[in-house]
Symmetry: C2
């Protein structure tokens, strides 16, 4: 029998980012978390929900998302109670999104432990993921902010790193460590060193903490943001006051990642812990990552898209299609073809990180209609 849900735990899913590096698949009106990028038959958001529900219970998952995505989120997650969908009027980065959830939930339940998990990541071994989260909750109960780090599988320059320090002895968390520091995305040489040194883990943006502990840390480091979030939370559960409060306060909130406003300062003070996660994790950051995630070998062609009609000869990489067109590839290696009704992208895995530049260029040249 599976373990029961954790009584004092609330899962928070910030569902905000568009995923510009996955254009033209990801769009303003069809962000990354609303796509099936693994061929699972459901969206990444739904996969995330399904992964968290056994830990928190369905009624205790909050989603922080843009007003524009409300309908799509409710369609994907029919089990989400109305009072657990927190709508942003515009994206203000992760401190605002997670801080708002913490401020609202702590009013409902003062001792609540929250865990924030991105809506658009892919995790393969759910059992190991659950085990890591249960350990992190045990650590958080002791007043630490706990993150889950990912054992690197290569010397990646695409992620931030968490350097683990000594063991942290907490009941129910046999793999807990203290965190020495957070490290920004490194250059390749540094990444290679980190990969050799087993003490560096990938930062997957997972934070598990008592809501009040997170807010206290935020109060010290970003007092204005903290004050505004408390004011918002105070008005939140009053239908008449919520909308006006969001309109007034939200657009002026400081845009800052929670890594900087909470995690790094906490690490410096010895209040940040980490559980090394023993599961496959991918942030599906670009088409190179998507290609790797969906193909079984280096020389294979991955195909994503219902009813895809692809005819390939001596080709590898990935084809993503939202149309029923016949797509023929001949002699193209590590290719990336993304075929949508109004936009087509052709690039290579090597150039996957440059897709964001195209999105910027389309904006600048007045072709925002396809963004």
């Amino acid at each position: 029998m599976a373990d029961p849900a954790i009584d004092d735990f609330y899962a928070v899913i910030p569902a905000g980012g568009i995923g510009s590096r996955l254009w033209p698949l990801s769009r303003a009106d069809a962000p990354k978390f609303l796509h099936d990028l693994t061929g699972s038959g459901q969206t990444l958001l739904r996969d995330t929900w399904d992964r968290l529900a056994p830990l928190s219970g369905e009624g205790r998952i909050a989603v922080v998302t843009g007003r524009a995505h409300r309908a799509a989120v409710e369609r994907e997650l029919p089990g989400v109670p109305d009072h657990n969908v927190f709508l942003e009027s515009e994206p203000r980065d992760s401190s605002a999104a997670i801080g708002l959830a913490a401020a609202i939930l702590v009013r409902r339940e003062p001792d609540v432990i929250i865990g924030s998990f991105a809506a658009d990541h892919v995790i393969r071994q759910t059992r190991q993921f659950e085990f890591a989260v249960r350990q992190a909750v045990a650590v958080a109960r002791e007043g630490y902010i706990c993150t889950i780090g990912i054992q690197p599988s290569e010397a990646s320059v695409g992620f931030g790193y968490i350097k683990q320090a000594g063991e942290l002895i907490v009941d129910g968390a046999p793999e807990a460590y203290m965190v020495e520091r957070f490290v920004e995305k490194p250059d390749l040489d540094t990444a290679k060193q980190y990969f050799e040194d087993r003490a560096y883990l990938w930062n997957a943006g997972m934070f598990i903490t008592r809501a009040d502990v997170l807010l206290a840390e935020l109060a010290v480091n970003e007092p204005e943001l903290h004050a505004a979030l408390l004011e918002l939370a105070e008005a939140w559960d009053d239908r008449d006051r919520r909308g006006p409060a969001v309109d007034r306060l939200w657009p002026s909130l400081k845009k800052i990642a929670i890594d900087y406003s909470v995690a790094e300062p906490a690490a410096e003070k010895g209040r940040l812990a980490v559980i090394p996660g023993h599961f496959d994790w991918d942030d599906v950051g670009d088409f190179a990552s998507l290609s790797k995630l969906n193909s079984h070998g280096r020389n294979e062609l991955a195909i994503l898209g219902e009813g895809a009609r692809v005819l390939a000869d001596a080709s590898s990489g990935i084809v993503v299609t939202q149309t029923k067109r016949v797509i023929s590839l001949i002699g193209v290696r590590d290719i990336v073809v993304v075929d949508t009704p109004d936009a087509l992208l052709v690039t290579t895995a090597e150039n996957a990180q440059r897709v964001k530049g195209v999105v910027d260029a389309l904006k600048l040249t007045g072709r925002g209609d396809v963004l």
Copy 2:
């Protein structure tokens, strides 16, 4: 003032081939000759017509094409008289197509000189082309079959070659030579030798000859085909008899290129002459050729398609689009992207000759709807 049309000359345009190596642009219902492949604003067929009209007069250009293309041909060529459109019930190669035209025209005008020119080639310097044809007509008037050869610009393995022999002295044809022999498409080493040796010219499929001389040659080499063509021609100008004659005789005609049925045997007998053409010629045989034809430099990206919305970064090759989709290329070199409403091709210039294989595979796998 331009030279007047040539009194005893009739131009013949066989408009038959689909151009499978240009799929998905070229289709059964939209063959190569019905496309604008140069950005000229009109189809290759119309370009061909415009090139020939000053030589023969508009009323003296015959088009041999499939029944399925009749409406398109008449739309492209509003000046073509109904009695100059010769409809095939199915393609039976060039001996049948040109032989039919010769047999029909010789009945109307016993001394007529015909010149056959493919409907889907590109020629840049019209003045030099005209000069070559006028010389070829002068040679044909003397009873020779005359071809126009193209001075090779590279050691191509994609064309047949014509080996010129000694000078042929004919009034009005200062550049006429005898032809020693016809050569099939060579391997690369042989092509390099031919390129060094200035006596080898590309065979561009242009034949200028008295109709009766061509038919006499055909009578010797392919007597059955010749007899069937005479029978067809005899019935042709009688509306009631034409259709039944075509239905009865056409499907059984031998499929043979006019190079084999007429030109090669004529060369052996010392009856084939050649005028070296001093103009740029391209048969636009595949997308590599199309790419070269439309780009100004090696590292450029050529774009074909009205209202094309292409955003390219560090890319070269060619994009052909029939849709209004935004097409973004990043870091792809010598790429070939062909974007049509129901089919998409992504390959490279190097693989351009393999496109025909895809067409065959689509047929075999039941996806002929996009051919």
